[in-house]
Structure formats: structure tokens, C-alpha cells
Amino acid sequence: MSLERDDVKKIAHLARLAIDEADIPGYATNLTNILNLVEQMSAVDTDQVTPMAHPLDAVQRLRPDEVTETNQRDHFQQHAPKVEDGLYLVPKVIE
């Protein structure tokens, strides 16, 4: 498996990461090496194995339907990058 320049760009876009053009070859090499390491897994047959998403074999606990939170807007927005009238501001969203 070898990742090319375009692969890196595509992945970086999907992950919304700005990457300097100059850094792309470095990422391509590193990511390729990591994928090659990862591909050692193909040595083992896992056809009959159940995937394991959690370390413990437990089930979800359920919370009673109660309102426990109070308004903490000012506290939460104290250090927010850009707010006005209680709203978080972002560059115009075009639908």
C-alpha cells in the first residue's frame, strides 16, 4: 500500500486539515509506512472472529429522563472564539 500526493490531499480534505504543499510528501511517506505496519494484520485469518468494539462485555446503562442541566451559556461562551447575542458565529453557511 502506498499513498500518493492526491490520496493525502483527499484524506486531509475529508478530515478538514490544511496541509502545506511542502509537507505533503513527508505525510505520504509516513502514512504509507504506518499503513504497511498495519497491514501485518492480514497475516492472520480472522474470518470466524467477532469484532471487538469495547474491551468489556457490557451493555449500555440508561439514564432517567430528567432535566439536570441549567443554563450556563455565559460560562460556556466566556472563552468562545466568536459569539454575539448568545450565538456562535461562523462564516456564512450557504445551503
Binding site: 457490557a58 446503562r61 432517567p64 442541566e69 450565538l87 445551503e95
Partner: protein, 476 residues
Amino acid sequence: MEWETVIGLEIHTQLATKSKIFSGASTAYGAEPNTQACAVDLGLPGVLPVLNKQVVIMAIKFGLAIGANVSRHSVFARKNYFYPDLPKGYQISQYELPIVETGKIDIELEDGTSKTIGITRAHLEEDAGKSLHEDYHGMTGIDLNRAGTPLLEIVSEPDMRSAKEAVAYMKKIHSLVRYLEISDGNMQEGSFRCDANVSVRPKGQKEFGTRTELKNINSFRFVERAINFEVERQIDVLEGGGEIIQETRLYDPDKNETRSMRSKEEAMDYRYFPDPDLLPVAINDETIASVEKTMPELPSAKKARFEKEFALSDYDASILTGDKDLADYFETVVKTSAQAKLSANWVISELSGRLNKEDRDITDSPISAQMLGGMIKRLAENAITSKMAKEVFNAMWDGEGDADAIIEKRGLKPADTGEVEKIIDEIIANNPDQVEQFRAGKEKVLGFFVGQVMKASKGKADPGQVNQLLRNKLKP
């Protein structure tokens, strides 16, 4: 060429819980922006979701109501994409193992027949926040109060063949979730909205055509219009030799058209994977049995019971049971009036008509079910005429009290027979020409006499009785 339309709906129902699906923040509608967005809803670093028990119960209820398989083991997954109203950069939803699978529901078609629509699945997920597009120095404002509100997404099979069927299905689901009391179904507030997958194919062709997805349609009227527009658009494209592009389109109700949502088009790679912050949801038989015990009477059962118990026509029963609140109202009216058919008539025509005219819901009718029942009881006893009943109805609507109080205050009382006969005799004597015409076979003139009598009696005479007496006296 003749075309066939194929429609599948994805309905998003907001579940009527007090708190959010994964946090203890309130779900109440209409709060100041971001005052109901707690640390978990904001996706602050380090926070974790904990599932609300009530949403699981509600999903089970829905599953049972549509005869579906309630999964003993379901899994929450993350749907990853970047959008400002999605605080964590992923939506917690269900993907491979939803909580409800393979159900069905019957809809009634206009020709009186019914049709079964398959429901592929229903899964739990969290709602996103809202982008406010008023201008904030050229920027968009984000309100995350709605973020984390529980939704049940109900996905149908592509079983509908017209916009009308789609509307009938949507109404049926709407009625059902309200019956189950799992959603208030309020479409203005966005508690019940739908995406439609629409395609067309030449009649007789087996394979589906390429579909488009119409996003966020929030009224029954718009569903019909949006689908009809889209069907015509697709047919135009195909007949013009073009191809349908699989894409998401937005319905614009002001222009009555659909347009491509380019912003949603690129990078549709959602990278679903099981949410490691949540464990599999296990539902055992005991839980299902206990939910089963709390199941209300469902619309179809209620309709059948109304037909049997109250000897109502199929039509009346179906209207009265179309909405749970209306059905409850009707039953209370009958309890007081002991007159099923008469009560059905008043609820369906007079009351519903007036409510519609004033755009009010049955739950805020100025006339309570007991009040209406009391009036119908008096009407059935002939304590008032139907004309008087209308007067009483209007007075009750205007808040003048219950029927008995109004009857007494206004001194309403049907005229007795002797009095009516006296009036009739007088009117016959004063209108010899009309008497002549009637006797010559001009039936229409009877109306004139009835009108005159009613006028002279100041409405106290019973029109039926007047009719009868007139006919007797006018006989040559």
C-alpha cells in the same frame, strides 16, 4: 411514455422527552439561543454521552405498533461530517444495528382500498442545532439548543407510487406517533419532518430509476407539492434525453421548486463506526412485555371499535380516529350525550368546521366535550330545536357558559304544536297564490312556507315538524 413514480420516505420524529437523548439538558422549545445547550450538547472536550431511558421505551412502543422486530441488541454509531450545527463533528445515530427493523403500516387510498407500506427500520439519533441566517456582519449564527434532541428516524420501503400515497403514509405515521404519545408531532416547530426519496421509471420496468432525495419537508401540503414537482422535473429530464443525477435537493415552498444542494454533495463519506463512548443497547423480553402493557389502543383498533360500539359509518369512524385527541373528545361527548350518531355529526361538521376556520386544534376548543355532549343531550330530548342548538353552540363558543345556562338565559324553548298550527293557518290564509301554485304541483313553494313559518315563530318551531304540518294542511 407512461411513467411510474416510486417514493420512499424518511420521517424524523422528535421524541417527546423532557431531557435530551444523551444529556440532562431540557428539550423545551423556544428558549433563548444556546441556553439549553449543556456541556455535552456543545461537545466540550472531555464530555460523554449517557443514553436516556425514555427514548428506548418510545422506540420500543413504535416498533410494537408497526409489528416490527424490536432488536434485542442495537448499536449507536457515529456519522462523521463537518457542519457548524453539528458540534462534535459527528452525529450519534444508528447504522448497522437499528433498534427497530421490518415493520409495516396500512394506509387508506382515495378509492377506499387500503395498501400496506413496509417500514424498513426505525433508529434513534440526535438532532443537530440550527443555523440562523440573519446577517451577523456577514456571518451565520449557531444556536445549539436543539442539538441532542432525540429523534426517531422512520425509514419506509420504496412502496409509495404517488405523492398522495406519500401524504397518506406520512399522515398515518403522524397520527400513530401522537397516539403512542411519543411525539407531539408539531410540524411548525420541526418535531415531525421528512425527506423523500423520489424516482420515476417507465411503467412496467422492474428496476428502480435513479433517485433524488428531497430534504426537510415540514408540512403535508409541501410533501405533495415537492414530490409532484420533482416527479415532473425528472420526467422532463428523462424525456429530454437527460439523466437523473443522484443528489440531495431542497424544496423551496415559495417558488414551488426543488434545487440541488451542492453544499451537501461533496464528500458524502460519513465514516460510520460504532460509538466507543456508548455500549450496545440490550433490550430483554421483560422490558418489551412491560412496554406492551402500556400500549394505548391504536388507530385501527379504535376505528373498528367505534364502528361496532357506536354504529358509526366507516367514514365517520375513520375521521374521528384519525387523531387521538379528536377521538378522545368524541368519546367524552358520547358519554355525556348518549347519542353516538348525533355526536359524530356535530363533532365532524359543526365543531371541526369551526375549529378549521379559526385554525385551532381540538385540544384548545373553546367548547369542552362535556359542554357539547350536554347540548346534544338537550337536542335529542327535543328540549331545543336544531336551529336553537346552533345558537347554543355559538354562544358556548363565545364563552357564555354551558348549554343549560344558555337555554335558560335566552329562554329557548320549541314552540308547541298548537302554536305552530295557528301560525301555519294564518300564513296559508295570507298567501292564496302560493297555495294555488303548490297545489298545482310546484313543490318548491313549500320552502317558501317553511321559511315564513320559521320567521313568524322566531325560530322556535322545529323545521321537521313545520314541514309535516304544512304538507298536511296544504293538501288539496
